[in-house]
Symmetry: C2
Subunit: 223 residues, 2 copies
DNA sequence: TCCGGTGACATAACAGCGTTATGAAAAAAA
DNA sequence: TTTTTTTCATAACGCTGTTATGTCACCGGA
């Protein structure tokens, strides 16, 4: 109504509205006009603040990585690094299931408005994986994994959990094939393949269940 | 030029053009106007033949599953079902790397024109997994995997390879972390986790390399 | 206090998208 | 041959991201 809106926080307002739109109605609801209308301004606000829709989406992708890192930081480093790793996997999955549309934009290439990640964005994502690399290092030092490249182990685990989460979000996993079962089996398999012996891997993964409620704040171990 | 184009094969022509556009220029090149112009007709051809862009994209998704199944059928069933399984994984990955944009549409949710998979499409995808389930059954019968649900094992392996391929296509995997290494390690881990002992799993996966050239027609085992 | 400059935003437009109503003409059925 | 059905061209509607232009609010200096 007033010809001049004296709101210095237009930028974060737009991000919040866009995030709400993405989470609530999915990627196709993310349009410059919709965001602007919801904010009570014109589409130009998107361009002065973010240089276009791509910039706004990029901002949300970074926010998505921040949320993932926040989940990671909730996992404590205990004397059982393998159990820690299992919990990091749970945290990864929980973050994806909590923010499915955001996760799809981050990794699935769900294209809102011709957005596509650039090299810097991907580096941003790999940086977030630092927590996992550090945990893999502890696993190796503890003799639970074969001595080797911790970064490679982290990428292995990443691909595993990412694959599970992606198909789960895409509703490809069949009903009787419980995602939780697949998750634990996959994790155990990878740990055993990385050098751990079967019994201790199973024990560590199972023991991480008890930490779900306290560290990830999830009363339901979803399985 | 002629007021009536006497081409009874308009339908398959449109599919071919669309497939070429998707493979050559990516999802954003898939537009009704573009396809129609390339075919020398109007956008209405897309609607009479496919009911809209979604129908055309859906047709290509089905084509994608057919190609995947064609790759699968190139893998012979030998006396070493674990090696067969490793080769099926290679075939899956090769299909994805050969048709990256199509794969992204099939699983990544790369949204050309507001297309989204429905329940039938997903069932179509799971059906393609039948070859893997059958191979898992043979692994179990041969005592190489713990006796259990073959479909669950197949889904495990699917999530594993899918995760790897997705991050590989998204260029998330770092350079020194060779995708081939991750692939074999992940496969070995899953097989060991599924009941196989480490040595024979490693041996079977490694032995499948020699079958790459003959069965998948790939002279380069890409590590 | 005024005054010019700078930045943020509104307005309106352009090109492109999927989609649809209408109509003409070819093919098929009678 | 006549009628019906199907296929497609034309044009439009509403939507998208984006941009050129203009207008105001703010801010530093005189």
């Amino acid at each position: 109504m007033s010809p001049r809106r004296t709101d210095p926080r237009t930028r974060s307002t737009l991000v919040d509205i866009a995030a709400g739109l993405l989470a609530g109605e999915g990627p196709q609801a993310l349009s410059a006009r919709r965001v602007a209308a919801e904010a009570g301004s014109s589409t130009m606000a998107v361009y002065t603040n973010f240089g276009g829709m791509s910039g706004l989406v990029r901002e949300m992708v970074h926010e998505g990585f921040a949320r993932l890192e926040a989940y990671f930081s909730q996992v404590a480093a205990t004397g059982d690094p393998v159990a820690d790793m299992a919990l990091l996997g749970r945290a990864y999955r929980r973050n994806a299931l909590t923010n499915p549309h955001l996760y799809a934009v981050m990794f699935g290439g769900a294209n809102p408005a011709g957005f596509s990640l650039n090299a810097e964005d991907r580096q941003y994502g790999r940086y977030t994986l630092g927590t996992v690399v550090e945990c893999a290092t502890r696993c190796i030092e503890a003799g639970r994994f074969d001595s080797g490249d911790a970064e490679l182990v982290a990428h292995q685990l990443w691909t595993a959990v990412h694959g599970l989460v992606t198909l789960e979000l895409g509703e490809y996993l069949i009903e009787p094939c419980n995602a939780g079962v697949v998750f634990e089996a996959q994790l155990i398999g990878l740990m055993v393949g990385a050098g751990d012996d079967v019994e201790s891997a199973v024990r560590s993964v199972r023991s991480s269940r008890t930490r779900l409620a306290t560290e990830l704040g999830d009363p339901d171990p979803d399985e």
